[in-house]
Structures are given as structure tokens and as C-alpha cells.
Symmetry: C2
């Protein structure tokens, strides 16, 4: 496995994978022979194929079908053989434009970029924004939301907006709120929400908090609003693109399973979570991905940064037979685009 595969076998294997990616059909020896300009006869190719099968890289759906790359085969292909396609200028342009023109609300931008990515790759695209806690505050504001509710709006440096609801406190006047706002903003700028909470709790223990009624009020409200951490967000765009793949069309049951999975935030989370920790792009082929019910799909995902820390990841979901040489650069580019975009804000 590790060492194996002389040059010729490698060549043949590459052709097989690429043909299979393009056609979704088992590849026969004739096809490959032709593709190599008859340098080798079908019979020879067959011998090589038999070797590749023994090595676990190829499989036969049935005796007289062509060969299909196994998951291990794809793994090997990606690790050793992949020739990245460089992106078209027009593609990178479109992506950058989408990243720039969206307004501040970060979710809008991310959604738009994700959608475009989905279209370019003809796969379903997915974004996970999973570390709201690492986001740094730019400003916050308490607003009256109903007779007995106050809404805390927090604008983060990256452009994400978070809302927290505070129940009770019906007696605060608009003027009180303004003062509290000013006070909290003074504390908040440049901190993460959990850090702000810690700071608030600290302040609450200070002497002076006990004597200034409004300040005390502000602090307890802040503490309450920040008690639980934000859960992170998930966007799925371009679901319909999975219908472009013949393997999904054929099997409606599979399709159902996948679409159901898209409705479960937690599933998507598990799917992309890994990509957040590793800086590099992550390719999970079939059973490598962490979600049992999606053992027959692949995920190509990359984390994106906000300043120094990775805060989320963006990825594509599709059949194991994906055009990795194209999709990997695409996702990588998109992720880095998001990173620089968030960096500038």
C-alpha cells in the first residue's frame, strides 16, 4: 500500500480515477488504453488493473464490469496524485466580489459566498460558524424589545451580529438604558463575550458596584444575558445541486437520508467540525467523515480565520466521486477569502 505502485500503474490509476470522476461509470481497460494513445494494449491494462485491485485501490461492481476506485483509492489519489486545477480568473473574481459587496452583517456575506461556491462546484455548500465566543466585540446595545424584555445586540469585529434576550426588567426607562449602554460599551470594546462576562462578574464583586444602583443593574443584566454561550450557526446553500449527481438521483432513499441530514444543524456541525481545528483543508471521503448516516458522501472543508483564531469552516458536500482537483482549490480559495475579509473588518 504505502510504497507500492510503479510509475506505470500510477499513470493508469490516475486515468481511471479521472475517467470515473468525469463519467460516474465503471472504467474498462479499452477506455484507458485508448486514452493513453494505445501505448499499452487493453490486455496489459487489465493486468495492471488486477494488481491495483489486489492493492485495494480498485473494485469491480460485478465480474464483467469495469473498475471503480475504492475509497482507499480515492484517498491515495488525493494524497499522492492530485493535480490541482488552477481556478479560472472569472471564478475567483466572482467569489471576491461576492465577499466584498455584502453588507456588514457577516451572515449575509457568508451565505452569499457559500451559495456562489455551491454553484461553481455544483455541489451543496455548507458553512459552519462555530466559535461565536472567540469573536471580539465592536459595540453593543441594549434595546427595549417588549414590555418586559430587553434585547442585547452585539456587533462583533468580523461583522457578525448576536442577539440575546433578557427577560424581566420592565421598569427601565429609555434613559436608564442609554446610560447602561454607555457604561457597558465602555467595558466591552475589544473583548470576547465570555471575557466580558468574566469582567462583569469581577466588577460585580468590586466595592463601588454595590453603591451605584444603575451600574449594579447594568452588570447583573449583562451577566444574565451572557450566561449561556451562543450555539454557533449553520448555513446550507445549494441543496438542489446534489441532484446534479447521477449517483444520488438513482437512489431516492439515499437522497432522502442526505436531505434529512441537511435539516439537522447538529449533523452539519459534526460534519465540518474537524475542519475548524486543522488549519489545512480537510477531505473526508465516505466513511472517514464523522457522521454515520452519511457514510457514503464526501466532505471537502476548510476553516476560516478571524484574526489569529479559526472561528468557522466552509465546505462542500457531494458524492465520493467528486472532482477533487477542482473542488479542493475552490474551497481553499473561498476559505482564505473569508479569512482575509474578516481580517480587514
Amino acid at each position: 500500500m504505502g510504497a507500492g505502485l510503479d510509475e506505470r500503474a500510477t499513470q493508469v490509476f490516475r486515468y481511471i480515477v479521472e475517467d470515473y470522476i468525469a463519467t460516474a461509470e465503471p472504467v474498462g481497460s479499452r477506455t484507458i488504453s485508448k486514452k493513453m494513445g494505445q501505448a499499452l494494449s487493453p490486455a496489459t491494462i487489465r493486468n495492471i488493473m488486477a494488481d491495483l485491485e489486489e492493492a485495494g485501490f480498485l473494485a469491480q461492481p460485478h465480474t464483467s464490469a469495469g473498475r471503480v476506485p475504492t475509497e482507499a483509492g480515492f484517498r491515495y489519489y488525493i494524497d499522492h496524485l492530485l493535480a490541482r486545477q488552477s481556478l479560472e480568473r472569472s471564478e475567483t473574481d466572482r467569489l471576491s466580489r461576492a465577499a466584498e459587496e455584502g453588507g456588514t452583517p457577516a451572515d449575509e456575506v457568508v451565505r452569499q459566498v457559500s451559495r456562489l461556491l455551491s454553484d461553481l462546484a455544483r455541489q451543496a455548500s455548507v458553512v459552519v460558524f462555530s466559535r461565536p465566543d472567540q469573536q471580539v466585540l465592536r459595540s453593543l446595545s441594549l434595546m427595549r424589545a417588549s414590555v418586559d424584555r430587553i434585547l442585547l445586540v452585539a456587533v462583533m469585529r468580523g461583522g457578525w451580529i448576536q442577539h440575546r434576550l433578557i427577560e424581566g426588567e420592565p421598569d427601565l426607562t429609555p434613559e436608564d438604558l442609554e446610560k447602561i449602554n454607555a457604561f457597558l460599551n465602555g467595558l466591552a470594546e475589544g473583548m470576547t463575550l465570555p471575557a466580558l462576562r468574566a469582567r462583569i462578574l469581577h466588577e460585580l464583586r468590586q466595592e463601588k458596584a454595590r453603591y451605584d444602583r444603575l451600574m449594579h443593574r447594568a452588570l447583573t443584566m449583562g451577566a444574565r444575558a451572557l450566561a449561556d454561550n451562543a450555539p454557533g450557526e449553520v448555513f446550507v446553500e445549494g441543496r438542489a445541486n446534489i441532484l446534479e449527481q447521477p449517483e444520488f438521483l438513482e437512489d431516492v432513499h439515499r437522497l432522502k437520508r442526505i436531505l434529512r441530514a441537511f435539516e439537522e444543524k447538529s449533523v452539519i456541525f459534526r460534519l465540518l467540525d474537524r475542519a475548524i481545528d486543522s488549519q489545512a483543508i480537510q477531505v473526508s471521503i465516505g466513511p472517514e467523515n464523522p457522521v454515520e448516516e452519511l457514510r457514503d458522501i464526501s466532505v471537502v472543508a476548510a476553516g476560516y480565520r478571524q484574526g489569529p483564531s479559526t472561528v468557522g469552516s466552509i465546505g462542500l458536500i457531494g458524492p465520493v466521486r467528486m472532482d477533487y482537483s477542482r473542488v479542493i482549490p475552490l474551497v481553499e480559495y473561498t476559505a482564505s477569502l473569508l479569512s482575509t475579509m474578516f481580517g480587514q473588518r
Copy 2:
């Protein structure tokens, strides 16, 4: 058409429709005869069926198949024959709970309710919130969003939150913003956004605005932020439920078309728009619905109110063969639930 159908024919027709709704298969004369306790023989039923076919209510997929209700048939069924099922206590309970427990951000609540509706009906559920302009302000706040951008956050009485971005104005200090906030809030409470804009423009023409620099600033910023109207929002929940319907599973092309349509906000808009104007529940059967590419699906939708004016609508999308007797009360109940919920806020 209008007058037609004696009692017996009606009875038979109802049975046919209901059987077809339950099974998605053409219904034969035997089946109906049995269902009626052999009161009539299959032969008699066949005669009646022939009449119903002539009247345009039934059709035969092919010579020796059973009968299937036509779209006109469904229309008649809904208009004259429908026996509404009353909802289960557990269902109404679940819906009310979902409506209550969501926090203020109205989109969260609406989304949750919509999802539940989708599950209860086993159809895809769709919400359109289309009249942001009719929403009445509760409070608003300007927040620093980036070095040269300001975010206007508006909390409406119903709990919807709107964001508008104002470009430029890098030199405003937090203190300035606070003052502007206070000033604008004074103007804003209880108005719709367009009304507020009108008011602002009016103020700008007043004498005093010319002399108070900050006030002038506040007004022009407000005017700019409110220059364009909010486009309204669309949520689709429970897409996977359309895979529960055999008629969609069989025809992948159709499925693709429908899923694609779900990705187009504007399509969904057109689909539910009508329901907003008419107070009552709207049932669009197949070609009756306003979207050409969805001529083979039905929409059951109802508007929901915010105070006196209808601001959005919620509905279900499914095959023409829907269980209307169940789905109609469900949608109606859900819509009224949303109305009362928004009313209380």
C-alpha cells in the same frame, strides 16, 4: 358543473377523492363499492364514475386504470365537500408551545413554528414575511459596525429585527452616536419605517435642523438608512418532507424542479403572495398557483396579522393530492397562532 352532482354521485366522488388522497393510486369501482358497504354494485359505481368523468371531475390515466380526481375535481371537493378534521389536542399544544417559547427575535419563532407545521403535515412548509414596512417600531439603535460603517438596528413591535447599514460617517464618536440614538428614538417609537423616513425628511426641512449640527447629522443618516425598503423574508422548512410523497419520488425531474424553486426567494414570494391579501385561507391547486414552473403542486396558505394589517403568510407546499381536510385546519390554526402571538407583543 356548478349545479350538477346529485347526492349519490357526490358521495361516490367524495370516497374517490379520499381514497386517492390516502393511497396516491387510481381508485376502481370495486373499492368504492366495498367502501360503501356494497350499497351499490361496482357496475353502478362505474356508471356514476363515467358521469363524473364527463363532468370533468375525474380522469383515467389509461383505459383500464381506476379513476383519479382532476384538478377541477379537487377544486370542487374543497369548495363543497370538504369535511374539516378537527386538530388533535396534542398538535395544537405543540404548536402553541413552539410559538410561546421562542425568544423575541420573531424570525426564530416563526421558523420554529413553521418547522413544526411542516412535520405535522408532512409537507414542506414555507413562511413569507413580506410587509416589513407595515411593522411598527419599538426602538432603534445606531451602532458602530466598522471603521466607516454604522449599523442601524430596529426592533419592531412584533419582535422582528431589522438591520440597515450606513456607509461612511467614520468620525462619529460613541458619544455622538448615543445622542443621535436618543434623538432618533424620540422620533421613532410607534411609527413604521417609511413613516419615520417621511417624518425625518419633514424635520430636515424645519428651521432648527439647520442650526443643530448633530441633529442635522442624525436626520440625514436616518434618511439614508431608510432610503430603500426592506425586501421581506422567506423561510423554507422541512424540505425533506416532500420526499415523503410518492408522486415526487417517482419523478426525479420534478423533484429537482421543486427543490430549485425552493432556492429562489422570489418564486416563494410569488407563491404565497396572494394569501397575504385575502384574509381567508388560500388553496391553490396545481395550475391555479401563480408560478409557472410549479404548475403541478398545491399551496395551502394563510396570512397572519400584526395588529390590524396582514404582514406575512405561512403555508404548506405539497402535491395536488394533499390531505386538505387536515392540512387546511392546520395552516389556519398556525396562522391565527402567529397573529395572536404578534398581537400580544
